[in-house]
Symmetry: C2
Subunit: 158 residues, 2 copies
């Protein structure tokens, strides 16, 4: 079980957008170049983040992306769900109900213990990611020494 | 992010083996047939469980598999790791160190906050799975009404 690389890329792009000045936006190409990532992938992930309502904006000559709401209102779980989808980690297909020796329906009425344990585990996992907001994550991009990087991201410098 | 179906299949096969009488073993074909699963996949997953030291035995005319240790000493996490591998859910590739605006090494010395949050989340997820042992999972296969199923699994009945 592994998250795709897009989660790391999107999370860092979100942190970069969180460092932008008010009303500024950053083009996909610069969000990619910031960490030497493939531009096409970054553009695709930004579209997924936009579909999830986490960023606004788009491509185009004067286009660019910025956070759709405050960095304190966007969690790492929001980013994971935007990029990877919201399906469960463990997909129970109730195989215990199959086969000639399957117990009667009333015996199997409750949630399968295996699935219930994975539910608990996923709730714990999501809980950790849901309590971490973008503004709770340290990034050098918010330091004064990164002013040039942020101005470049926002196309205030070339 | 999703676990493959093999985790569900292997977990139920482990529960079935946990219900076997002492010294009995169950062939891969019957462990598959019990829940109407593909035999070749079950055989492959049983080999993974064996490589992980969770079951002993093998194929062959008189072959079969049984738990390598007590059901109280095998956790759901053991089964997940045997089938899916032990790599981290989130693979940090330190992209923050890349690019012409990357902060100096000493600024980036600590673990990235994004990776640290995923580490915490994975620890919570693994913790839930690691505290659930096979004997802590309810299964109708341990009930007296399943005696025929268990005898069939162990080839004591055809």
């Amino acid at each position: 079980m592994r998250l795709g690389p897009g989660v790391e890329w999107a999370a860092h792009a979100m942190l970069a957008m969180a460092a932008l000045p008010n009303d500024a936006s950053a083009p996909a190409a610069r969000l990619a170049e910031l960490h030497e990532l493939p531009k096409a992938s970054m553009a695709k992930h930004l579209q997924a983040l936009r579909r999830a309502g986490l960023v606004t904006g788009g491509e185009g000559r004067r286009g660019g992306y910025r956070l759709a709401r405050s960095a304190s209102e966007i969690t790492l779980l929001d980013v994971v769900v935007a990029i990877e989808g919201d399906g469960p980690v463990f997909a129970c297909t109730e195989i215990r109900r199959r086969g000639r020796f399957a117990a009667p329906r009333q015996v199997l009425a409750g949630r399968c213990g295996i699935a219930a344990t994975f539910d608990d585990a996923e709730r714990a996992w999501r809980g950790c990611l849901a309590k971490t907001t973008l503004d709770g994550l340290a990034t050098p991009l918010r330091a004064p020494t990164s002013r040039a990087a942020v101005r470049w991201l926002a196309r205030l410098e070339s």
